[in-house]
Each structure stands twice: as C-alpha cells, then as structure tokens.
Symmetry: C2
C-alpha cells in the first residue's frame, strides 16, 4: 500500500517543474527498471508488484533506497501508461558535466527543437546502438525526462549523455575548433557519396520546420538522404528519428 | 454544426469492426487531409473549420462528397488527438488487389506481428521514401486504419499498398519463386557486407519477440545492423522502425 505522500510525489513528477526541482524522474516498465538495476544505477524508490520484488537479486536490491510493494490498481493510479507494467521507479538526474570541447572530440548529435517525445527517445536509442555518446538539445526540445521519452529509449538512456544548451554556442565552438557540422537538409548532397570524419556534429531539425535559419550558417556540410520515388504526395520528408538512424548508420558503416 | 448521426458515425470509426464494416477510415490533420486532396483521392466527408474549407481550391472541393463546417469544440469531440487540427475526413478503403506474384517482382516488406501503431506508420513512411510499394502484414499486426497508424504515415500511405495475409503463404511463394527473403535477425550477417538483389522480401519481426520461429525457415539471407558500442545495458536491439529505415537505406544505396 503506497502512502498518500508517496502517491502525490510520484504523480507530481509528471510535471517538468517538479522533476527539475527534486532532480528526480520516473522510469516505468519491467524491462527498463531491470536494465537500470543491472547497470548498477541507484534507484531512490521502487514501487512494484510483490512478484517483481521477489524476483530481484540481492545485488540488485542493494541499489534500491526504498521498496514499496503494491497491486495493479495502485500502479495504474501512478502510471502514465494505459496498461502499466509491474514496476515503476524513481531515479535521480545524473550529474553529467557539459564540456563542449570534450564532446567535440568524437561524433555527437545536435537536435534543434525536436518536439515529439517518441522521436527524442528513439534518437537516443539509435545513438546508443551506433556508439554515439552525446546528444545536445536546444532548450526548446522536449524534456528528456518526459515519461514518453524515457519509455521510448527502452533503457538506452543509460549509455547516452543528453545536454541542453544553446546550439548557437555549441555549433560556434565546433566551427571555431574546425570540427565539421553535418546538417540534414533537403537541399543537401547525397549522403551516400559524402565523406565523413570520425569526429563531427550531426545536426537535425524540427519535425515540420527543419533546421532553424539562424543555425544554417554553422553547417559545414549539407547532407541529404535521397528519395527513391517519383511519387509526389505525402512524402515531403522522412521522420526525423528515421533520418537520424539512417545517418548514424552511414557514419558507422564508413568509420566503424 | 455536425448532426448527431454524423457525430456517432465518425466516433464509431475508432473501432476496427466499424471501419471494416463500412470500409471507411478517418484521416486527421490539415497536412494529411491536404495531401489526400492534392493526390485526387476521393473524400466521403470533410469536417473542418470554415477557414480550412474556404482555403480549398475548386478542384479540391470536387473530390469531396460532403462538407460540414464546425468549430474547435466540435472537432475536439470527434478527434482522437489531444490537440485536434482544423480538419478531419472520412475516406473509403482503397480497392487494392493482393497478388503475391506481382508483389514479388520488386522489393517488398513483410511485417510479422508489428504491434505498435507508430512503428507501422513510420515504416510505411520510410518505405514510401525509399520507393518500396508493397508491405505485407501478418494478420496479428496492428490495423492499418488505426488512427495512430494513419497519423504516423503523414500521408505516405497514399504511395504504399498494405496487404494483410498469411506470411507463411507469402514467404513460401517467395521461396518457390526463387525470390530472396532477407530476415533481420540479431544473429545475421553484417548488412554492410551483404549483397542484395533488386527484388526480394525484407522480413521484420515483433517489437520484443523478433521474427516468429515458424517463419525463420523461409529466410534465405539473415541480415544484422551491427552495434557500434561495448555498452551492455539498455541496447538489446534497435527499434523495429529504425531498423527498417536503415535496411531500406542500404538497399537503396546499392540498387538505387
């Protein structure tokens, strides 16, 4: 039985303001909670069905500050999912330092005004797969700790640092350090014919507006995923997270 | 002002049974409705704000059986979106014929138990981009006309025929005709090193279970998108629609 206070605390974390104030976010679902535990990430509070709790190893329990068992009905009340899983947990924001110079030593991703939580989540998941460790989000991107973003990462967030900062500043630093900025644009060059360096920034824009005009001067190479069809309706662009995966794959294929 | 009857009819189409019986589905959002109109697809009923209606060209209005103007509050009541757009329309199922022999003349995609509407929608969108014209879904895939699928295609559905049929039968026909079946499997060969034919079937499996065991014997080439990281938590697999895009891109790059 979850206390009223805990209930209120958990539900309040659906709001960004509350998350930022307590530097705490919610992860949901058996698979994600297990991935966090396997990785040794500290969990502040675990709320789960008794079966889930009893399935945990001692080493996993040691990572958990507090455990509350509950039933399905209670989980349903605190969950943001229509069909909640068996476990939900509260985790602290990581203490990740943002050092542009360090980030620019390898391949990174910059997202300009990506609004859809599913898109940010799957971009994180793809980045993790292709070994990209840093994503820089403009301040107007969707919040990383939005439950739908966390859900879509399927735990891949454990491998990627997501930084919120001014893209103007970040891309200027890239330019000043001679690090290439690859911008995904409809008027870019065929990505398959381009050459890529091992370090660089892949810049992706908003779902409907693309990359902001003020950021295009920072682009040093314009890239484009060619469209293989003559059809003219309903295929103005690829979804941003699809484009991201194709681009990450192209970089990995050449430099992997 | 929408009549009670029309209101009931539109809302009832949120259910697959009602859609199948009337062979009618709902498209929502200014962009998608405009794409349908541009393409000359017949619209049975358009429900939209007066501004939207008055912005239509005569040639577009000629494609519409019936027009009802309404306000935001009314749209909100018939919409499945939390923030409805300015227009919603009813469209008939297309009369697409399923002829496996014809489909197998070019590259197609077979989806085994893909459940998430967003995944099916973005796979359709990517397929359209890369010029793939046929997708074969197992009967247990999510329904094509689920509003979330249609939404995620962003109109790309106008360029792709989606067929529901037994994958056992379809893949057997492929095998019998000597058409390669490329299965996306974690134990497959690096996709970048493989050779591909211009015709073939790309087989993709369920979001968590992958390709069903009963279908693996039909696979003639196992392919795999290499993972470029040593990290071991939270990156068991790529999301199925991300994997689809990367695979489509690889086929397009070699054969485009």
């Amino acid at each position: 039985m979850i206390s009223k206070n805990k209930f209120r605390q958990i539900v309040s974390l659906q709001k960004k303001k509350e998350r930022d104030e307590s530097r705490t976010y919610v992860i949901e679902g058996d698979k994600i909670v297990r991935e966090y535990l396997k990785s040794g990430t500290r969990i502040k509070l675990l709320v789960a069905k008794p079966e889930f709790v009893s399935s945990l190893k001692i080493s996993e329990k040691e990572c958990i500050g507090e455990i509350e068992t509950c039933n399905y009905e209670e989980l349903k009340k605190i969950s943001t999912l229509t069909a909640p899983h068996n476990a939900l947990a509260l985790v602290s924001y990581p203490d990740s330092r943002t050092d542009p110079a360090e980030i620019l030593r390898e391949l990174s991703v910059a997202l300009d005004f990506v609004q859809d939580p599913g898109n940010l989540g799957t971009i994180i998941r793809s980045a993790a797969w292709f070994g990209i460790r840093n994503i820089i989000c403009s301040f107007n991107c969707v919040d990383l700790y939005n439950p739908k973003v966390i859900q879509a990462t399927m735990g891949a967030i454990l491998n990627v640092n997501v930084h919120y900062m001014s893209l103007n500043e970040f891309l200027k630093t890239a330019n000043d350090s001679g690090v290439p900025v690859y911008g995904a644009l409809l008027e870019g060059n065929r990505i398959y014919d381009e050459s890529f360096e091992r370090r660089g920034v892949i810049l992706l824009g908003n779902e409907s507006k693309g990359i902001s005009e003020e950021l295009t001067p920072f682009i040093t190479k314009k890239i484009y995923i060619p469209k293989y069809t003559d059809a003219s309706y309903g295929i103005e662009s690829l979804n941003v997270s699809m484009a991201a995966s194709v681009i990450f794959s192209e970089f990995a294929r050449r430099n992997g």
